[in-house]
Amino acid sequence: MPTIVVEVMPKAELLDPQGKAVAGALGRLGQTQSALANVTGVRVGKRFEISLDGETDAATLAAVRELADSVLSNSVIEDVVGIHVQDAPSTAVA
């Protein structure tokens, strides 16, 4: 089943309190795990996977692009950073 992936991130210039909280936790882990010691920041965004019947033609992709800008993101506080098509919904990495 073709799946269109839309990725949305908080605007780079805005404070991302969620990312900051995660970064703080990683910083604490970094005190005991040296591999994490050089983590300098974390930002948290969103990933949407839109499953479709049939082929993803140019018109469908254009409609999803419009949806990404108008509904899936709010341009005042977020940016759409990626739209791509994959063959199926994502599964866990091996």
Binding site: P10, L15, P17, Q18, N74, V76, I77
Partner: protein
């Protein structure tokens, strides 16, 4: 005067808003998010809460509700609309107000009595305040940090569209903004909750007596007074 209060899935303060409207002297009309009918009301309140569990973005899914077609249309024709907290978030998502609200800068949910300065006392919802009146009403949210582009902020400041500013900024809001209005002054969004400070005994503490703060009532009496002038 009949003022509608729209209930969305996850609204919490719809009954409090209706009570505030009645205490101010108007009739409160319960409206439903799934309808396409404003039941002939003269003004609207979008209440606080966590519509749709704040999924997607706070207020985003509610802003696409069936009734929002009528709300947006009425607002654009000049009907007074007050969005409180989640209602403010809906108004920004519906593009009736500029800016957006993000998570509080320290990541905390904040619940406290909040001092504000009313900087625009010309809007439909604030005309009963003295110029630069300082008031105290409750604040309770996790995503109340007001954001806007530098260009939008400049326009809001230049056009006097900042309705209320925090006396002590609790959440990282740009320019201490607690509430804004549109160019026409009929649509107002406010993160703190005027409907929780409308009856002595149940409001914020004041120097005079515990829980005696009723500063929030003026938002509702303002819209009634404006309607009487217009009538």
């Amino acid at each position: 005067m009949r003022i509608g209060v729209v209930t969305f899935p996850g609204s919490l303060d719809d009954r409090d808003a209706a009570r505030a409207i009645r205490l101010a002297g108007a009739d409160a009309v319960a409206l439903w998010h799934g309808d396409h009918d404003l039941h002939g009301v003269d003004a609207l309140v979008l209440p606080g809460g966590f519509s749709y569990g704040d999924y997607l973005r706070a207020g985003a899914i509610a802003s696409l509700s069936p009734i929002m077609t009528e709300v947006i249309d009425a607002a654009n024709k000049g009907m007074p609309v007050l969005g409180i907290c989640n209602g403010f978030q809906m108004l920004t998502e519906a593009h009736l107000l500029d800016g957006g609200l993000i998570r509080n800068d320290k990541g905390r949910f904040i619940c406290r009595d909040q001092g504000l300065r009313i900087e625009n006392n010309a809007s439909d919802w604030t005309n009963g305040f003295e110029a630069n009146a300082e008031i105290v009403i409750p604040l309770k949210n996790g995503e109340g940090s007001f954001m806007a582009s530098a260009e939008t902020l400049k326009a809001l400041e230049g056009e006097g569209r900042i309705v209320a500013r925090y006396l002590d900024n609790p959440n990282g809001s740009l320019n201490d903004i607690a509430g804004v209005t549109n160019a026409r002054g009929n649509v107002v969004g406010l993160m703190p909750h005027p409907e929780h400070a409308v009856e002595a005994g149940f409001g914020p503490d004041t120097d005079a007596a515990m829980a005696s703060g009723v500063d929030g009532l003026v938002f509702f009496t303002s819209v009634i007074a404006r309607a009487l002038v217009g009538a």
